[in-house]
């Protein structure tokens, strides 16, 4: 990564899926534990559980001026609506991480590198849909592991999730991370 290069990640789903939380964890991990600059913004509307929701993280070694995503390198789509809304904002050749349980219809498949992880299903195995975001974060980590240590993310998770669910969240993160590693799209510098 050159000094002023930006890594732009957009995470989108329904309100209540923990989209904002993983954005915050990711931003904090880069900023406090990986020695980079990061800005985390979130969509803001009157929606709570159920509405469309997104969270963005911009990472750079240099100063970050424009705080939002311009053209995403990675799009994490946890719902069909989220995918339909934000797919056009994904760079050509960018990585689309999706949950096949809730995202069925992907247009222009050839333009993007798709990485499919059943986050919701894995979360159910651990005890509930509320761990879906941690699974997704683990899967996302697989895509950016050349930029950040696993321990940095685990520290940020510890800072941000309730103490009584910490262990399960860490487990969910690991499940997402180790799911189908061979299929992780290659090619980003």
């Amino acid at each position: 990564m050159k000094k002023n290069d930006r890594l732009e990640i957009r995470i989108a789903g329904f309100g209540g899926q923990g989209v904002v939380t993983i954005g915050r964890i990711l931003g904090e991990a880069f900023s406090l534990y990986a020695g980079k600059n990061s800005v985390n913004t979130q969509s803001y509307g009157p929606e709570s559980r159920g509405g469309a929701c997104k969270s963005e993280v911009v990472v750079s070694d240099g100063e970050i001026h424009y705080p939002n995503v311009r053209k995403a390198d990675i799009l994490v789509a946890l719902s069909q609506v989220a995918l339909d809304t934000y797919l056009s904002g994904l760079k050509e050749g960018g990585i689309l991480l999706l949950d096949p349980g809730s995202v069925k219809d992907v247009k222009n498949q050839g333009k993007y590198r798709v990485y499919s992880v059943p986050c919701m299903e894995l979360a159910y195995e651990l005890g509930g849909v509320r761990y879906q975001n941690s699974v997704a974060l683990g899967a996302l980590y697989g895509l950016i592991s050349h930029m950040i240590e696993e321990s940095s993310l685990l520290k940020a998770i510890s800072d941000n999730v309730p103490r009584n669910t910490l262990e399960i969240n860490k487990e969910a993160f690991k499940r997402g991370m180790s799911y189908d590693k061979e299929k992780i799209p290659k090619g980003r510098e």
Partner: protein, 398 residues
């Protein structure tokens, strides 16, 4: 009953240990301004929750009791702003954080705080209007900040552009309010209030904190104390300290007398307020500049929009070799007209991107109309400009 734990609340000696530790933190803008206020010595918060400033109120409700301060949820924004006045005359530094509709309700209190020379800080996390408008980002209150209150009352208004600055500018706001005995406004936007970024907190001893001058500090006895005299910024006596406290909302003489009215006395009172802010407080450090050496065009911006503008300026210079400079107004009011005229002598086009339909374009035009060929507004309503949008507007005209 749940026993509330305020571990260090009563122990005034150790409050410093309850402030955020020096070092790197990852905070939201709304949280950073509360931390800044605490570092500045603010110990009274009164407010009414409103989107998108609610997180600041939540943070205040947690943090103020922890450092031995007071947190009051008032019945509305009118009451909140009045609490600041009372707290300030009681000797405390006081803060409220609100958003545009609430800021409208505070105008009356701001007006009386100006004439009674009451130090206090109001942070306005701007959202679009009029009415309830919406809850996204805007810069539509920048004129209300200056002209919203009735009367010839000058005001200081600052414009932060990052979470780090939400921390720093809040401290600066308290320093200015205490130094000049005046209400100070921090005009932030929803974008920066909800943004999370790292904030580097310096060691406490490295942060300059200014406290108001009191008559006892200057060796003025209660008998000799003249509530509105002694200096351009009169030393402020607080209630309960043995001095004749004179809180007055009418134009007044130096001794606080309001009954011997004359047009001269009226003019003198208003001119003193005007000079205090427009001349004395309008010093250096209001502008941030870049790429001015060779520029033939100019981007003048403020607040969070300046981050997009900077991105666009850097890109235009790099990809098209466009000679465009960058000026950011760190302080909106008093408008840094002289400073602007000092550094800009002859450019072609001045672009002013704003999250409104072109408000600060007016004072900028007044300052630069004989220094450039034309001034172009780049408006955006309800959403932060993207660099591509600014660039397309720039290229359209050049």
């Amino acid at each position: 009953m749940i026993k509330k734990k305020y571990p260090k609340a009563v122990n005034k000696v150790s409050w410093a240990s309850c402030l955020l530790k020096p070092g790197r933190h990852y905070l939201q803008g709304n949280e950073a301004c509360i931390e800044g206020a605490l570092v500045a010595g603010c110990r009274v918060y009164a407010g009414y929750p409103i989107t998108p400033a609610t997180e600041a109120m939540e943070a205040a409700s947690r943090r103020f009791p922890e450092v031995g301060g007071r947190f009051i949820q008032m019945e509305d924004e009118i009451g909140s702003a009045c609490v600041l006045i009372g707290a300030s005359w009681g000797g405390a530094k006081a803060l409220t954080v609100t958003s545009s509709p609430g800021f409208s309700l505070m105008q009356e209190a701001i007006s009386i705080a100006i004439i009674s020379e009451t130090p206090m800080v109001i942070i306005d996390i701007q959202r679009p209007g009029p009415g309830q408008g919406y809850i996204t980002a805007s810069q539509e209150d920048v004129m209300q900040a200056r002209w919203g209150h009735h009367g010839e009352g000058p005001i200081i208004a600052l414009a932060p552009s990052s979470v780090q600055e939400m921390f720093e500018v809040t401290i600066e706001a308290f320093n200015l309010s205490e130094r000049w005995r005046t209400p100070v406004l921090v005009m932030a936007e929803e974008t920066v209030a909800h943004m999370r970024e790292s904030v580097v907190i310096p060691p406490l001893e490295a942060i300059e904190i200014i406290n108001r001058k009191k008559p006892q500090d200057l060796g003025i006895s209660p008998e000799a104390y003249c509530p509105w005299g002694h200096a351009v910024v009169a030393p402020m006596a607080n209630w309960g300290e043995g001095y004749n406290v004179n809180f007055v909302g009418l134009v007044h003489l130096e001794d606080g007398n309001v009954t011997r009215y004359s047009p001269e006395m009226n003019r003198h009172c208003i001119e003193r307020l005007q000079k205090k802010i427009e001349v004395d407080a309008n010093s250096t450090g209001c502008l941030e500049t870049k790429f001015l050496e060779d520029c033939s065009h100019l981007m003048v911006c403020y607040g969070v929009v300046s981050r997009t503008a900077m991105e666009a300026v850097a890109e235009a210079r790099e990809s098209r070799g466009l000679k465009i400079g960058y000026i950011r107004l760190r302080r909106l009011w008093p408008f840094p007209e002289k400073q602007l005229r000092d550094i800009v002598c002859d450019v072609d086009t001045v672009f002013v991107p704003e999250m409104n339909l072109g408000m600060m374009k007016h004072p900028i035009t007044e300052a630069l109309r004989d220094r450039c060929r034309r001034i172009v507004s780049i408006p955006s309503i309800g959403v932060l400009h993207s660099p591509d949008y600014i660039l397309s507007e720039v290229y359209k005209d050049i």
